[in-house]
């Protein structure tokens, strides 16, 4: 099973389980099923609860908030994550505040799903990793899918078991990637912490104690897994990899556990470097650990994402970049 199938299956399961689940988005009707096909089959199975919309990102997020306010569990698909900026006011000033402003009298069970990321040559307005601009919004949860464990259950928890607004990030390149079920992987030791939105800790199976802690989410967690293996086998650098599914607010508990041994932190993200996710991770960890942390971030260059392959490859982090940064930290 791949990530796309897991997410699509989860949406089907959610809509089957509760009649209060509604799905809105652009071009989501069958046979198309959305630009990345995550909605495939939904409109056929639940024609009354799957609504294809005009090209109105702010509007549909706003409608989703209104529906959620009235007790529906709403999923809004934003076709490309690059368009999420159009809904920034709806997210920051409405979705995230209404519960608090009402003294918890109203709730907003809304999941805004959107694919982010580059690697497909879609160019500057269709390849971005913009979630960094939505981290740290009081009242907003940001989740990110990986192949690890069960992205379908992550989505299900978000839709059915959470009454707060969620920005749900799916990296485009993950859709076709096979899942790494928790119990079946022989290459990694995998530890899970938390239920709804777990944090995972991986290390190469049978490796000695780590000297470095890497943390990454989304598609970069995939690359970090590859880097972890190559670091171990090619360079004898042994690292822990901590992969959160909830990237904001961020729970640094497991990370601190690992850092207690390594004192070395490498964050990896696809968003542009400055003011990215890694900044908060580093800051938190420094505050917690005091003067003993060595740290470094791997991220995209601070520029738009180009279309042409060689350029795009230069701007976005890759496995080599992670390995190199890790080795620099150890040496």
């Amino acid at each position: 099973m791949n990530v796309l199938q897991a997410l699509n299956g989860s949406l089907h399961a959610c809509m089957a389980e509760s009649e209060r689940v509604y799905f809105l988005g652009e071009d989501i009707l069958d046979p198309y099923g959305g630009a990345f096909k995550v909605a495939q089959g939904l409109s056929t199975a639940y024609p009354d609860r799957v609504i294809t919309t005009p090209v109105s990102e702010a509007g549909i997020v706003g409608l989703g908030i209104g529906m959620a306010l009235r007790g529906l569990n709403v999923v809004v698909e934003i076709m490309f994550g690059d368009f999420i900026a159009l809904a920034a006011d709806q997210i920051i000033n409405h979705a995230a505040k209404l519960r608090w402003m009402s003294e918890d009298k109203v709730r907003i069970p809304l999941v805004i799903r959107t694919p982010m990321g580059g690697g497909r040559g879609y160019g500057p307005t269709h390849s971005q990793t913009l979630e960094k601009h939505f981290l740290g919004v009081p009242g907003l949860r940001v989740l990110a899918v990986t192949t690890i464990d069960d992205p379908g259950s992550l989505l299900k928890h978000a839709i059915l078991e959470d009454n707060d607004p969620i920005l749900f990030i799916e990296h485009k390149l993950l859709y076709t990637k096979a899942l790494q079920p928790l119990n079946e992987t022989s290459e990694f030791n995998l530890e899970k912490s938390g239920e709804r939105y777990p944090v995972y800790r991986l290390k190469v199976a049978g490796s000695p104690p780590p000297t470095l802690t890497i943390t990454a989410y989304g598609y970069m967690a995939e690359l970090a897994c590859q880097a972890l293996q190559r670091l171990a086998f090619e360079y004898e650098v042994f690292a822990d990899l901590v992969v959160p599914t909830q990237i904001s607010p961020f729970d640094h508990h497991l990370l601190l556990e690992s850092l207690a041994h390594t004192n070395r932190l490498l964050t990896v993200e696809e968003g542009s470097h400055t003011h990215g996710w890694g900044a908060e991770v580093l800051a938190r960890v420094v505050e917690a650990l005091g003067p003993r942390l060595q740290a470094k971030r791997v991220a995209a260059l601070d520029m738009p994402i180009p279309t042409s392959g060689p350029l795009e490859k230069t701007v976005i982090p890759d496995v080599e970049g992670i390995i190199q940064a890790a080795r620099e930290m150890i040496s």
Binding site: P54, I60, G62, G64, L98, W100, M101
Partner: protein, 310 residues
């Protein structure tokens, strides 16, 4: 469902007067420093809120804006809780969190981002239609709010899906200090008709006329004819918020002469009118007094907007 007749003249008068006196007291008290933040008063527009919301039924939803006191009181909100909210008291509508423009109570929602609540209103209408509740959403906005793009995204979807929402456009001829001719091209009614939303329009401060137009429109909405728009040309007598009035005093005076309260008072026995006056003034005074004696909001009451643990 049939057209109902309007509430009796005295009730309508009293409701408008409650808004008027409340707002006058707010403006008069501002300099004394009892309030936090700012305010936007509804004086002059009372016929809109009272006339329109006389048509609302229990469970209907009202989506309001920065100028929400009139809507809130006409909806049935507590005058004391509103005063307390302005004063940042624990007993305020939202315990002092929201203040003047962020009022949420029962099915009433107000917010300070112009236009930002319009898609929420349409989404609520979509929910109510889906759940088949027969509820109607009343969405208030001002002429200036027609500057915001998300309003049009919302009108489009409301119309496409034939949703039970009444858009109430209060054209008081200004957006803050900007006269309508400097901010709006074309005709207001065309902005709705461009989305195939039927419009009823009136240049009036007669609460009964407003009620009748609203009731006709609400019946259509409630019986499934889809969204309707009501364009009410009105005027505010007070400044936009507190001291910021740049309008020609002559112009203000002209509109003050067609006062909705006076118009309605003329329909009522003068003695009765007086009695209502006294009662309302007492009510307002008591509301303010009580609010002022209430405890200020307690920082310990603050909660996080989100449970941070996964």
């Amino acid at each position: 469902m049939t057209l109902e007749s309007p509430p009796d003249d005295v009730t309508l008068y009293r409701q408008m007067l409650r808004i008027r006196r409340f707002e006058e007291k707010v403006l008069a008290s501002f300099s004394s420093g009892i309030f936090y933040g700012t305010t936007h008063t509804y004086i002059g527009q009372e016929a809109d809120a009272v006339g329109v919301l006389a048509c609302h039924e229990e469970g209907d939803i009202v989506v309001s804006n920065h100028r929400c006191h009139g809507h809130f009181l006409a909806y049935g909100g507590s005058m004391h809780a509103l005063a307390a909210e302005l004063m940042g008291r624990a007993t305020g509508v939202t315990g002092g969190r929201g203040g003047s423009q962020h009022v949420q109570w029962k099915d009433f929602y107000a917010n300070g981002i112009l236009g930002g609540t319009v898609p929420l209103a349409v989404g609520m209408a979509l929910a109510e239609k889906s759940l088949n509740t027969g509820r109607v959403v009343f969405a208030f906005m001002g002429d200036g709010t027609l500057g915001e793009g998300v309003v049009y995204e919302s009108l489009n979807m409301a119309s496409l899906w034939s949703l039970p929402v009444l858009f109430v456009l209060e054209n008081n001829r200004y957006a803050q200090t900007t006269p309508i001719q400097l901010h709006l091209a074309g005709e207001i009614s065309d902005r709705f008709q461009a989305f195939a939303i039927p419009v009823a329009e009136a240049e009036t401060v007669d609460v009964i006329e407003v009620f009748k137009l609203a009731q006709e429109a609400v019946v259509k909405v409630r019986t499934g004819e889809g969204p309707q728009a009501l364009v009410l040309h009105t005027y505010r007598y007070g400044p936009h918020s507190k001291g910021d009035d740049t309008r020609d005093p002559e112009e203000v005076l002209k509109y003050r002469k067609r006062d909705p309260l006076q118009l309605q008072a003329n329909r009522i026995d003068p003695d009765l009118c007086k009695r209502v006056e006294v009662e309302v003034e007492t009510e307002v005074d008591e509301a303010f007094q009580r609010a002022q004696n209430d405890p200020l909001a307690d920082p310990a009451s603050l909660t996080l907007p989100l449970d941070p643990t996964p």
